[in-house]
């Protein structure tokens, strides 16, 4: 079915990404706009994700929409064996937008094909999580004043980390320079390196994480190294400490450099970094609200012009 669903950012042109970021900026200036009055937003979380759900529900609330949905798949009809198709078709009778998180990959694309109302993908397994990438792009643009020609260092789990893959794909429009820092076990998959070469994006790989490799970085994007990715627990203990950012490592870094992390953080960023002005991860999460307000409006066909007109009223 042809609708304005957001399944993956790969569907968006550079212009469209910049347009959505522009729209998000309007919501940072004023997050409370009654643009979705009388609209119902369904949040279907087939897999729990408190952070993403709260962010989407806050976005919907600040736009004056009403919210229905479930947060626990055990209490939903899918636990009784209902197909995704039936759940989506049923909920589409009630809601104007469906925000969904699902543990199966491709669930959002399938839902978008069968749903008469727009679907917003809030994460489908290890596949896509476009609203996270939107807030990452927004945070980068806001802190650097541009998305173009930046040195971006990705640290941690680059193998399974969905957010780093999406970010890398979205950044293809902006001439970035990447550095991939990870333990051997969690290196950037080959398909993404092939992608970089095809797009003419320069990158370096390293297993060492220290002051020197981050000295010329504009964006330091850190992800969590999860213990469940390791078969050898001794190896995990070693790796865990080798990829922790400490405040002392930030002394020689660029003044414009900012540290991003999709959260939740465990021990990959030491707590002494939190008070450093270069630590940006909590503001980054806040930017998620503006990015998601923009996404909810866009899938319903609300434009920047509509937002500005509404403001003048």
């Amino acid at each position: 079915m042809d609708n304005r669903s957001l399944v993956s950012l790969a569907q968006h042109s550079k212009e469209k990404l910049l347009y959505l970021l522009d729209m998000a900026k309007r919501f940072e200036e004023n997050p409370n706009r009654r643009l979705l009055e009388n609209k119902v937003v369904a949040t279907l979380f087939f897999e729990p994700s408190t952070r993403t759900r709260l962010s989407f529900e806050t976005a919907a609330n600040r736009l004056s929409a009403r919210i229905i949905g479930f947060t626990d798949p055990k209490s939903s009809s899918s636990a009784k064996g209902e197909t995704l198709k039936d759940t989506i078709t049923m909920v589409a009778n009630y809601a104007d937008i469906i925000v969904m998180r699902h543990h199966l990959e491709g669930a959002a694309r399938y839902a978008a094909e069968i749903s008469p109302v727009p679907i917003v993908n809030a994460g489908d397994g290890a596949n896509q999580h476009p609203s996270q990438t939107m807030l990452d792009l927004y945070s980068i643009q806001k802190t650097q004043g541009t998305l173009e020609n930046l040195n971006i260092t990705l640290v941690g789990d680059l193998k399974y980390g969905r957010t780093v893959h999406s970010l890398l794909t979205a950044m293809r429009h902006f001439n970035p320079n990447f550095r991939f820092i990870s333990p051997e076990e969690l290196k950037m998959p080959n398909e993404y390196k092939v992608f970089c070469r095809q797009q003419g994006i320069p990158f370096e790989e390293s297993t060492v994480f220290n002051e020197r490799v981050i000295a010329d970085t504009d964006i330091l994007y850190i992800t969590r190294v999860q213990s469940e990715r390791f078969t050898d627990m001794l190896e995990y203990e070693r790796v865990k400490n080798a990829y922790t950012l400490h405040n002392s490592m930030l002394e020689g870094t660029r003044p414009n450099m900012r540290i991003l992390h999709p959260l939740p953080r465990v021990n990959e960023i030491s707590y002494d970094v939190d008070n450093n002005p270069k630590a940006y991860y909590f503001e980054q999460a806040k930017n998620g609200l503006y990015a998601r307000e923009a996404i909810l409006c866009d899938v319903l066909g609300i434009t920047i012009e509509d937002i500005d007109n509404y403001e003048r009223k």
Binding site: S8, K85, H103, L104, E105, G106, Y110, N127
Partner: protein, 154 residues
């Protein structure tokens, strides 16, 4: 004389299609993919025949059956080098090769167990990325896979 008799048995097709150069191990997959078991017209199937190209090959002769491109192209994922001979009035009027389509609908099962297509009653959908290497990409979970990874839907 004996040889002649053998030839007559399989060559006597007035109108129809001959699918030639099928790899022997794929013959019955081709039968399945083309749903030939549902066909009411005369079918002659030969397998493990001597082939200079393949070593062993299979051949299928179908009386009064003609395929459109969409129908026949899907077998290219298991047998990319088959040859089609279209017969009218005992004469070969057209020779065709199969061309792998850009999209495979409901033919291949996704290799990713966490793909929605393996957990929901729905039609699979693949985009063909590389026809030579037979690399395909799941429309849903976006995982790329090659011939060794995926299986044909039973």
């Amino acid at each position: 004389m004996k040889e002649n008799k053998q030839r007559l048995l399989v060559a006597a097709l007035e109108n129809g299609t001959v699918i030639d150069h099928i790899p022997s191990d794929q013959l019955f997959t081709v039968v399945h993919l083309l749903k030939l078991d549902k066909l009411e017209t005369k079918i002659t199937i030969g397998n493990n025949l001597v082939s200079s190209k393949l070593g062993k090959k299979g051949i299928i002769k179908l009386a009064n059956k003609f395929f459109d491109s969409d129908e026949i192209n899907k077998i290219s994922i298991v047998a990319p080098h088959i040859r089609l001979n279209i017969i009218r009035n005992y004469e070969v009027v057209e020779k065709r090769e199969v061309d792998m389509p850009n999209q495979l609908l409901g033919i291949v099962k996704c290799a990713n167990p966490k793909c929605i297509t393996n957990n929901e009653p729905m039609t699979t959908n693949f985009h063909v990325i590389d026809k030579e290497k037979c690399t395909i990409k799941c429309h849903y979970c976006e995982k790329e896979q090659t011939k060794e990874d995926f299986t044909i839907i039973e």
